[in-house]
């Protein structure tokens, strides 16, 4: 190419005889592409603003908590409460990222190009879902890791570090549950709407829609209604599951219904994924 004579050779069209990768590398490439897009990497500066704003806020919260812990020597907020405290921000994050991942492809008409390639429709849906769930998980896991490192350095004996590690891993698990539940709902809603702004609003709406139901059930004078109230909204559903599975001694609010919360969460996720796959079966044949 860089010959000193400056002659440009038209080498003509060359057929490609090299390797063509199979399904897994293609889905992997789409997943990585989605994960990068979630944080606006490889996109315009405008696309980076909202995700990084939210990342910034979460990071500041984590930094303040870590600093306070280093000074006072005791944890003001545990890992599980950290995730619950930030649930509103997680919703915002999903509302920004999910439309970026799927509504954008609908709006631009790119989907037929994906589906005219070896990629299966369900591969597309699952790769996008995995990207959103991973991005949401990273949003939480990053700051929690900062908190853990800070805490590990501020404890005085080695045994305490192991205790801390256990709490940290449980906290990560709880964050992952949040990421899965919130991601499924957000992506499902976004996959139905072509306009990003509308989709973002609809996602926030879908999370908040049933909160009044929870509120009403909570104030009823029946203990059972109060304990089951959390099932009515995704946020409190995951909260209830957390009370049972991730927070020792946190079962007071949900009584003995912990397993029910877990089953409902599982059913919610499975139903969401099935609906998402059905949605893409339909959209491809259009």
């Amino acid at each position: 190419m860089s010959q000193p004579t400056g002659v440009i050779h038209d080498i003509g069209y060359q057929r490609y005889t090299g390797p063509r990768l199979g399904r897994r590398p293609i889905v992997g490439a789409l997943y990585v592409h989605g994960l990068r897009a979630a944080f606006g990497l490889g996109r315009s500066a405008k696309a980076k603003v909202f995700p990084w704003l939210i990342v910034g806020v979460v990071a500041v919260v984590a930094a303040v908590l870590t600093a306070l812990r280093a000074r006072t020597g005791q944890a003001l907020v545990g890992y599980a409460e950290f995730t619950e405290m930030l649930s509103m921000l997680i919703i915002f994050f999903c509302a920004v990222v999910a439309p970026e991942l799927v509504s954008r492809d609908l709006h631009n008409g790119v989907l037929p190009l994906y589906f005219a390639r070896p990629l299966r429709r369900q591969d597309y849906a699952l790769a996008r879902l995995a990207a959103l769930v991973s991005a949401t998980f990273l949003l939480l896991a990053g700051p929690m890791t900062v908190m853990f490192v800070g805490a590990a350095f501020s404890v005085d004996r080695l045994g305490a570090v192991w205790d801390e590690l256990g709490d940290y891993l449980v906290g990560l698990g709880y964050a992952a549950v949040h990421a899965v539940v919130f991601g499924v709902l957000a992506l499902l809603v976004a996959s139905l709407l072509r306009r990003r702004a509308v989709a973002a609003g609809a996602i926030v709406g879908s999370f908040l829609l049933t909160t009044p139901v929870v509120g009403v059930l909570m104030v009823l004078p029946y203990e059972r209604a109060t304990q089951l109230a959390g099932l009515a909204s995704p946020v409190t559903l995951v909260g209830g599951l957390g009370d049972w599975a991730f927070e020792p001694g946190g079962e007071a609010e949900i009584g003995g219904y912990g397993p029910l919360y877990a089953l409902t969460t599982l059913g919610f996720v499975v139903a969401g994924v099935l609906l998402l796959l059905a949605r893409y079966r339909k959209v491809a044949s259009k």
């Binding site: 069209y13 490609y16 696309a47 008409g109 037929p112 070896p118 044949s285």
Partner: protein, 321 residues
């Protein structure tokens, strides 16, 4: 090997609309035009070929594979350029085509190289790092073509590639498609509702209407008998007709026009000599366009105009329909 072969292919949608009805056609390698009005079933045909829709009944084989069973293998070897907009405006052409190459299974660095190559072949090189949103319609069409070409398919499906282009852009796009078919050695199926466009570049034409096959033939077979010269003079049309008839040319009248079958190069000379000797003002002498169109104008959906052979015979002087 037959590129696409269908056997009584039928597709009926859930709402009772029949998009394809008993379509049996064999498409050979080369540049093939798929012609039909909007709603004739072209898009449905493409989706079935890609394995995105299952036919209601009948069989289809693409590159020797059944797309309803081996859709993935078929789609790996086929490039598809849709009719509608399909480009994200906030990405550069290079990034977008690279991503699409990776979605076709090309490794990362190869994808980048071939994306540059494909964009160069469609005539976008310097501009490829600019955002697609700022491109003209012609450039966008080229990017759409490049993404279909990037993974070096064996068959390109182009749905209305000249949509929205001005005449110069149309010519450039058709030239490009012709090059892909001839120089690159990739078979191309061009969908269009403009027959005149397709006949310029295609080896064969498949015409469908209402999901049924109107005609499928090699262009050389279709046009051989119908090369016609159009002669228009502003006065003395009758005298010229008589003179040409006397010179053993089977001339026909079509309103103000005279149609003369083109036997060989001497036909031009005979006409020019006749016009010069009669000293008539010659307006026009050219090869009649849309000649394939006449072959299809006899079907149930004949366009408003009756076939040229019938018109004009009894028309009065200067009769304008």
């Amino acid at each position: 090997m037959t590129l696409i072969a269908t056997q009584s292919l039928t597709k009926t949608y859930g709402n009772g609309v029949t998009a394809l009805a008993d379509l049996t056609v064999g498409i050979e390698p080369g540049i093939v035009g798929l012609v039909g009005a909007n709603g004739a079933g072209k898009s449905t045909f493409i989706k079935i070929v890609l394995g995105l829709l299952s036919p209601t009944s009948g069989q289809v084989r693409v590159l020797g594979l059944d797309p309803t069973v081996d859709g993935r293998q078929v789609r790996a070897r086929v490039g598809y350029m849709p009719e509608h907009d399909c480009l994200p405006p906030d990405l550069s052409a290079a990034e977008f085509v690279t991503h699409m190459a990776r979605m076709s299974g090309l490794p990362k660095t190869t994808a980048r190289e071939r994306a540059s190559e494909a964009l160069r072949h469609v005539g976008l090189y310097e501009e490829r790092y600019r955002q697609v949103g700022g491109y003209s319609t012609g450039m966008k069409q080229r990017v759409k073509l490049a993404q279909a070409l990037v993974h070096d398919p064996d068959l390109l499906l182009l749905d209305e590639p000249t949509n929205g282009l001005d005449p110069a852009g149309r010519d450039a796009m058709l030239g490009l498609v012709e090059r892909i078919g001839t120089e690159f050695g990739i078979s191309v199926l061009v969908c269009s509702h403009l027959l005149g466009e397709v006949e310029r570049i295609c080896d064969a034409v498949v015409a469908i209407d209402g999901g049924r096959l109107l005609r499928s033939a090699l262009l050389s077979d279709m046009t051989a008998a119908t090369e016609v010269l159009t002669v228009e003079v502003s006065e003395g049309t009758d005298e010229l007709a008589a003179r040409l008839a006397a010179a053993n040319l089977p001339v026909r009248r079509d309103g103000r026009l005279l149609l003369v079958p083109l036997a060989d190069e001497t036909t031009y000379d005979l006409i020019l000599t006749a016009v010069a000797e009669l000293d008539l003002p010659l307006h026009r002498l050219d090869q009649r366009r849309h000649r394939v169109a006449e072959l299809f104008a006899t079907g149930p959906v004949a366009s408003g105009e009756p076939p040229a052979a019938l018109a004009g015979a009894g028309a009065t002087e200067g009769g304008i329909r």
